[in-house]
């Protein structure tokens, strides 16, 4: 009922717009310097992690894979018509925002946390959360600790240039304990130090810790601590301020992948479902058979279909890299809102 009435309102609004401005075709001309630059270049310049299982890594044949990489591919597919038209630029934790601000990349999708300072002081846009997590600790089972507070006096390895250090300092101060830290430039050496026993544990966001555990000599010797610190860490793509159309585009590509999961569209069944769309209004809108869902974003109406066909829906991507086919991390917070998770989306109208 709700959906129908909003459709009616939207229809009336579109009609009114058509009456006053002479049709939607002329009404909406999306202007975006970033999108123009990407089209001219024929490639999306996507800033990603230099290599971490789950988010962005190279497979045996040298192709980039991962949750973040999939979003790069989906954006390129939606805008340029091919998921392979992406130039991947590896960025370190230290330099990532400078690289984005300098214009070297169009979008930064690098397991980066959304925060107040990044939005305000760094003046970056935070369009959509593609991974909810929280700072998680992984420790050796042989330590026999049950709670984070028991880690008083222990040494934890981590990568510098992140919010992790601040969170540990805050936690120490709040609980009047001392968890020692050992700061590394790159994860590889931090993994080696943890594996050798130099540190009692390793900390990062939940996804990265799962990735770290998979690189240990004996992953089964390690366990995740039940508590997390530093509150919720929403990770997602960053764009520069001043190009709202582009920020919007990135946001709706992510929502498109969520909408596909809500509608039950997968890589495997997308062509069948398109053929069978019939009069189902939700499917017709998603496939761009009606409405201006492409034009209003600055691309063609077939973008959402292409993204699901070439990259998959959000759940499929999660499963491939973090879920059952990947690092074995339960879907948890990253499930859809109607399955007890935090992934929500605006209505597709």
């Amino acid at each position: 009922m709700l959906r129908r009435s909003t459709t009616l309102v939207a229809g009336l609004a579109a009609f009114a717009a058509w009456l006053s401005l002479g049709g939607p075709a002329e009404a909406q001309e999306v202007k975006s310097p970033t999108m123009d630059a990407i089209r001219a270049r024929g490639q999306l310049a996507c800033g990603i992690d230099t290599g971490i299982p789950g988010y962005a890594f190279q497979d045996a044949s040298g192709n980039w894979q991962g949750l973040d990489v999939s979003l790069c591919r989906a954006i390129a597919d939606a805008l340029l018509g091919s998921a392979d038209k992406v130039k991947y630029i590896g960025t370190t934790a230290k330099e990532r925002f400078s690289v984005l601000a300098s214009g070297e990349i169009d979008v930064l999708i690098r397991d980066s946390e959304y925060s107040f300072i990044r939005n305000t002081q760094l003046n970056l846009q935070e369009p959509a959360v593609n991974f909810f997590t929280a700072q998680t600790f992984m420790v050796r089972k042989s330590l026999n600790v049950a709670h984070l507070k028991d880690l008083n006096g222990a040494t934890i390895c981590l990568v510098t240039g992140t919010t992790l250090e601040t969170n540990i300092a805050d936690y120490n101060r709040a609980n009047n304990i001392k968890i020692n830290t050992l700061l590394f430039d790159r994860p590889e050496e931090a993994f080696a130090a943890a594996d050798s026993g130099r540190c009692d544990g390793y900390t990062d966001d939940g996804g990265s810790v799962a990735a770290a555990r998979s690189t240990m000599k004996k992953p089964d010797d390690w366990m995740f601590m039940p508590e997390t610190i530093g509150g919720l860490e929403p990770l997602g793509p960053f764009t520069r301020s001043g190009d709202e159309a582009w920020t919007r585009f990135v946001k709706w590509v992510h929502y498109g992948m969520l909408e596909a999961e809500v509608l039950g569209l997968t890589k495997a069944n997308i062509d069948d479902m398109k053929a069978k769309a019939g009069n189902d209004p939700d499917l017709r809108r998603f496939f761009g058979m009606e409405g201006d869902f492409g034009k209003l974003l600055g691309t063609d109406n077939g973008w959402s279909y292409r993204v699901v066909r070439d990259v998959g829906n959000y759940g499929e991507v999660y499963d491939a890299y973090f879920g059952s086919k990947g690092l074995g991390l339960p879907r948890g917070m990253n499930n859809l809102y109607n399955h007890g998770g935090l992934q929500t989306l605006p209505t597709w109208h």
């Binding site: 230290k94 880690l151 830290t181 590394f184």
Partner: protein
């Protein structure tokens, strides 16, 4: 007038200087405009205003979470200086040894030195530092299985733990006094007392110094396993050891070649003359060759020392909390002041290097052959 080389050359130099100045001015203007556009300001006030909300795992002076960034800078500079000084001393000693071995008449000794130099000189220093770190970590046992060293020291994968001296209140007076005695000793050694040289009797001062030092020690803080870690004592972390080993060994290979070149630069007539005077080969080296070679090797040695200081920033790879790691990593992230932090880093490294260079130049003038 214009054809004469000197005014023309001078004009060209001024033009070049002007161009460089203009380029810098343009760059600074562009940076300023860009920062304005990104709504960021420029200033070093954050060093005093901001509170460092992070821990520095290894520090020579006291450090608490919440101190100012400026104090963090002091802590990090001291860490950088510590590892640089340790590496310079070790690299010099090892470099001299290998350089002299390289010129030995013994085939085995000569070739060991050759292989050492070629192997070390031709692999990247970062790889070597990480190699030493992984090597250190993978050979040492866990804290529960610490190796007990003579004197109560403990060695494990977390580092070397030495007993810490607990000072009695009187140490405030006695320890500086002991240091003064030690400094005075070499002067007394050379002095004459009632027309006779003091000589070895000056060693009495050293004995006295040790006694004063020991008299102010009220006890020892022994390292012991407590919970997850060793507590008590002084910890020398493996990160420091790995960085020290990496910098020293890499530097030693280059210093060995400098030493060899310097020794070969001494005319062989000097050696022959010394031998024909009946000096032993050991004395030929220490009294004739090395003093003359020293003058040749000081300038290249200076640049090698500067290289070691600058390479200490590679400690970031093995979690040694030196200047580059803490400032270009944590402080940059927490304060979001990229330009300022980078300028600060360059200025600090430049000051350290220039100070080192100035000292070496002074020493060079001191030992340089005075031409008559």
């Amino acid at each position: 007038m214009v054809r004469r080389p000197s005014p023309r050359a001078r004009a060209a130099q001024w033009l070049l200087l002007l161009a460089v100045g203009a380029a810098f001015w343009l760059l600074a203007g562009m940076a300023g405009a860009n920062m304005d556009r990104r709504h960021t300001s420029f200033g070093f006030g954050f060093l005093l205003d901001g509170h460092a909300n992070f821990d520095i795992p290894f520090h020579l002076v006291s450090w608490r979470v919440g101190d100012t960034y400026l104090w963090a800078l002091v802590v990090c500079v001291l860490n950088t200086l510590l590892v640089s000084a340790m590496a310079i001393v070790a690299a010099t000693l090892l470099g001299f040894l290998v350089g002299i071995m390289r010129l030995s008449s013994n085939w085995l000794v000569r070739n060991i030195a050759l292989w050492f130099i070629e192997l070390v000189r031709n692999t990247p220093i970062l790889v070597q530092i990480i190699f030493w770190y992984v090597a250190v970590l993978s050979t040492l046992p866990s804290p529960r299985l610490s190796i007990l060293l003579p004197g109560g020291a403990l060695l494990n994968v977390r580092g070397l733990y030495l007993p810490r001296l607990i000072e009695a209140p009187r140490a405030v007076v006695l320890w500086p006094l002991a240091l003064l005695l030690l400094i005075a000793m070499p002067f007394l050694w050379r002095a004459t007392l009632r027309g006779r040289p003091v000589g070895a009797r000056a060693l009495l001062l050293a004995v006295l110094a040790v006694a004063l030092f020991g008299g102010a020690v009220s006890g020892f803080d022994w390292p012991a396993l407590h919970g997850f870690n060793i507590t008590g004592g002084v910890q020398l972390p493996p990160e420091l050891a790995a960085l020290w080993a990496g910098l020293s060994i890499y530097g030693a290979a280059f210093i060995a070649e400098i030493v060899r070149a310097a020794i070969l630069s001494v005319h062989k007539g000097q050696r022959e003359a010394a031998l024909s005077l009946g000096l032993r080969p050991r004395h030929v080296l220490s009294k004739i060759i090395v003093p003359q070679a020293l003058r040749v090797m000081i300038p290249p040695l200076t640049s090698q020392y500067l290289n070691i200081i600058k390479s200490s920033s590679l400690g970031a790879a093995v979690a040694y909390p030196e200047l580059f790691q803490i400032f270009a990593g944590t402080v940059l992230q927490q304060s979001a002041r990229e330009v300022e932090v980078m300028i600060l880093l360059m200025a600090v490294f430049l000051s350290i290097s220039l100070a080192g260079s100035a000292f070496m130049n002074w020493y060079n003038r001191h030992v340089a052959l005075v031409e008559r």
